[in-house]
Subunit: 244 residues, 2 copies
Amino acid sequence: MSTISAQSVADRAFAPRAAVGLRAEAGFEDRLTQAPLRRIEAKELLFAEGDAASHLYRIETGAIALYTVLNDGRRQIMGFAYPGDLLGLGIKREHDMNAQAIKPTRVRCLSAASLRQAAAKDPALALKLYEALAAELAATRDLLITTGQRSALERVAGFLLAFSRRNDRNGLDPEAFELPMTRTDIGDLLGLTIETVSRTLTKLRSLRVIELPRCHEVRVRNLDALERMAEGAGQEASHASQAI
Amino acid sequence: MSTISAQSVADRAFAPRAAVGLRAEAGFEDRLTQAPLRRIEAKELLFAEGDAASHLYRIETGAIALYTVLNDGRRQIMGFAYPGDLLGLGIKREHDMNAQAIKPTRVRCLSAASLRQAAAKDPALALKLYEALAAELAATRDLLITTGQRSALERVAGFLLAFSRRNDRNGLDPEAFELPMTRTDIGDLLGLTIETVSRTLTKLRSLRVIELPRCHEVRVRNLDALERMAEGAGQEASHASQAI
DNA sequence: CGCCATATTGAATCGATTCAAGAAACGTGG
DNA sequence: CCACGTTTCTTGAATCGATTCAATATGGCG
């Protein structure tokens, strides 16, 4: 559910994929370390809808929200990008979304034109970009399942769980993390109002599943319960997985 | 909203993209016309979740639903694929979705392994695959906005509008089309129940926006109104697009 | 310290769902 | 070709989960 995150999808990916990635890694990583670094303040836009899609970005530190806005102001966040994630993978000449930092952020900027040229000559690089795009698609599909099918409790539980799992992958504490975004951001990601997000967090707290020392700080008290709630163990006797 | 459809996204794409596509078109099209044709009955699966992702498919005739099923049976349709659309664009070794024909369908089958090899040597082909994947991502994002932000009326109106526009692109009547899928399918795409889909269609009919000669046959009576409803002109005085 | 953003909580409402009953459409076999 | 059974669709009534509106509370920051 953390979306956009190539890492978050790695969970479900297969070993050979990583192996292929390694060959390309060298050249691509070189390219990135040489790429200019850009600093963005919280709330500043990295790019906006309609801007020329001149660069591919990689988040170094911080976090960025990707979103579109409907003509009446409703906003759908497509995902949050965290360190290591790539932004701007499309093939369009202009961005069709807004990318806004939700905290001070640093990104590496690669020229889209030269990257495209390089990819035409280097199949390993091309494959790497293809994989990154496929990962973004997988993350978007995850979120689609969430907004299309899940209850508020499942959405919020799943959202929190994604932080726990990301921490786990990164060797950090899977039972304590910070929410860098506002309740409004969470709501606009999950298709809920800010009030519902707040109420649902309160409910998880009163169920002793999480603690909220501060409103942007989460401590997981019962990871199993959180996982069950994300899967829809709201109240009903859990339907046997594949039983008839 | 018709999702997955490379065509449906072409609307929003830019001229140079098509130009680039043309060069690759020749080789790719050759490859496809030589590829074996497979016939699938209605309700038959082209592939299922967990199957080896051995092939890339292109729909020749018919229609296919792409979906995932949650452990408790809820189903999210990610999109419908129509003639010309590509299926199986991922990089994973196994499919992470089900592809089920919703009417008798014919598909061309390309070996994923050989295609991958060819793409490594032919940047134009690689770009074509990349574009197709980007189109699928764009379509999925559209659907995410729909399920995340829109009301039942907006969802159904937008869904119908996609058929109208597809017909328009194909030189067919934009005011008459057939719905190849069931109400259940529509509901599982849009994140609504079958009853809500039915009621909403009835509402559009009683508002004289559409006619339903048969339940799988739609005639648009007021395209403007349908477009307005898809954009959220439910009842409120439509907010000026970009006004402050 | 005090202010403005953000977050929480409550009460009333509303849109969509659920449960339930028919109606229509479809396919199949007589 | 019609009758039948089955599936799909429609419609109604009651319910429920999430939203809306409104009133505090909290907290980050100048």
